[in-house]
Amino acid sequence: MTIAAPPYSLVAAFAERSRWRAIETVLWLCALLPFWLAPTHLQLASQIAITALFAISLDLILGYAGIVSMGHAAFFGLGAYTAGILSVKLGWGEPISGLLIAGLVAGIGGYLSSLVVCRFRHLALIMITLGIGVMLHEIANTSHGLTGGADGLQGIRTWKFLGVWSLDIYGYVAYSYALIVLFACFLVARRIVQSPFGLALKGIRENALRMPAIGAPSQSHLRKIYTIAAVMAGMAGAVLAQTTETVSLEVLSFQRSADVLVMLILGGTGRLYGGMIGAVIYMLARDHLSGLNPQYWYFWIGLLLIAVVTLLPNGILGGLARVRALNWIREMRLMPRRRAA
């Protein structure tokens, strides 16, 4: 039995959806601006790029597959500690292989936890992701010999990138590296969500029971995307460890899981750019406001969260899309009148 090739229009529809738009080029060119506009803040820029990658990885499972995770920092931390331990305990500081190994370790962790996580929904799902997160935090906290415990992992040495560039105090190399990793992972994520597999994930998000009925296996799809997201989160963690040359227990904290969730919601889920824009706004605002007192900063973030959930349920990008849709509807309504005139 042969399966009929999809009709041409379907292929065309996928091609249209995945077309690279001009605004995307503009956005990515904007990411280069800090090199000229804020050369003294490149360390912050590289933190933002790392956080944006972390937010994209959460978007893959939350925005596309509908898995609410309260412990996504587990994989970020796994990657960060892998890269750190490679350098401190094994003396291997080559950054690119370190990045790949960290991604691999986080991916293995993601796959193993996906066997459990993907079977649940609702409160049990939230509790299990939260539980895995705090459990890893506790393991890192207590295995002092390997991770440095609450003191953090000190003494990471990152070798020269490609044997040429070493980390500089201004962060030129750090930001370039973070940006390249972010862009590469973004391309992969973009390809995934615009493939038929990504479409199947959205179907599972909307109705997990119906998708198997049309031939899309929910469980294995969810496990796959969960593992991919874990790899990306791990890579984000590894970049943080390699560029800052230190890993603190904070990479595994519940706070980090909650923060990335806030960024993603702020920007808008299920659109990849939402997480990135959320990360930029969140990190810049935090940099400016938390100088006063981190506790007060959370007041504004909390208020913002309440406001976004009550007023802008789909985040900033979702709000923009709605404005555009409203304009479109208005134009449609105006059309007959124009014709009459």
């Binding site: 649940f120 409160l123 939230i126 509790m127 939260l130 459990m135 207590t142 506790q295 007041f299």
Partner: protein, 286 residues
């Protein structure tokens, strides 16, 4: 043998504290499926009300306990009417985000008003100290806490099993649509239950100060424990919350006493295994 009994006693007392903190969330979650991560913020309100009243107004500790209950119930009731009730039909994620937002705001407000230092409360001398029963050292305050929690538990069970308000709660937890069909005003029942549950959390928060200390992080640190109790015990089940709280309290104290190098690892592992085995909780029916 003797340290074992002591651990059991301390664990039971800690479990009773967790029971007070979590029983309200269990009932409200079971009733409306509303994931209220801000539950421990209400506990924190109760705790800081007690701090204020004892330190600046000078009321005796015992007199502040009912006021802590009332303050938490009042604040939660107002929030429920203004904000939460719009989100009963929203997704889990939206509910989580809204309530996490409230936790953030509450932590910041408390930090602004009281600073981030560890607070302590002066309890009357007759609640301090300890005595020996057959070689087991029992703290008076812990006995007092256990007594209050047991009274609350008995009152809740009687209230839910014997009164008509309790019957309405049970009906709404079991089958909300059918309860509405029978003419029960589920929204009003829920609002009252919500305020009552948050009030109990406020009482728990006030009682917690002497035992575990109080700082601005309280709302997050105990949230995890409370969620474990609720999800392991099963939604909407008072008996389940009681059993899960005792289990968690004893295993936490025992873990810290016998295997301190593992920290809180065991509790989380036990929770994950229990949830894998019974996602609806030990005593949950759905």
């Amino acid at each position: 043998m003797i340290p074992f009994l002591g651990v059991l006693f301390d664990g039971f007392a800690y479990g009773m504290l967790l029971f007070l903190l979590s029983v309200g969330l269990s009932v409200t979650l079971g009733m409306m499926n509303f994931v209220n991560l801000a539950h421990c913020s209400f506990a924190m309100i109760g705790a800081y009300v007690t701090i204020t009243l004892t330190q600046t107004v000078g009321l005796p500790f015992l007199a502040t306990l009912p006021l802590a209950f009332l303050a938490a119930a009042l604040v939660s009731g107002v929030l429920e009417r203004l904000l939460f009730q719009r989100f009963y039909r929203a997704t889990d994620l939206d509910q989580c985000l809204l309530t996490i937002g409230i936790v953030f705001v509450s932590i910041a407000v408390v930090a602004y008003l009281y600073g981030t230092t560890l607070q302590s409360v002066k309890v009357p001398s007759y609640l301090q100290g300890s005595f020996n029963v057959g070689g087991v050292t029992m703290g008076v305050y812990r006995l007092f806490l256990i007594a209050i929690a047991l009274v609350v538990a008995v009152a809740l069970v009687i209230g839910i099993e014997k009164t008509s308000f309790g019957a309405r709660i049970r009906a709404a937890v079991d089958n909300q649509r059918m309860a509405r069909g029978l003419g029960i005003d589920v929204d009003r029942t829920f609002a009252l239950t919500f305020a009552l549950g948050s009030g109990l959390a406020g009482l728990g928060g006030a009682l917690a100060i002497q035992m575990v200390g109080l700082d601005t992080d309280f709302a997050f640190r105990y949230l995890i424990y409370v969620l474990i109790v609720v999800s392991v015990g099963g939604l909407g089940s008072i008996g389940g919350s009681f059993a899960a709280a005792v289990l968690l309290g004893v295993s936490d104290v025992a873990g810290k006493y016998y295997a301190p190098q593992f920290g809180a690892f065991f509790i989380y592992a036990v929770m994950i295994v229990l949830l894998m085995w019974r996602p609806q909780g030990l005593f949950g029916r759905r």
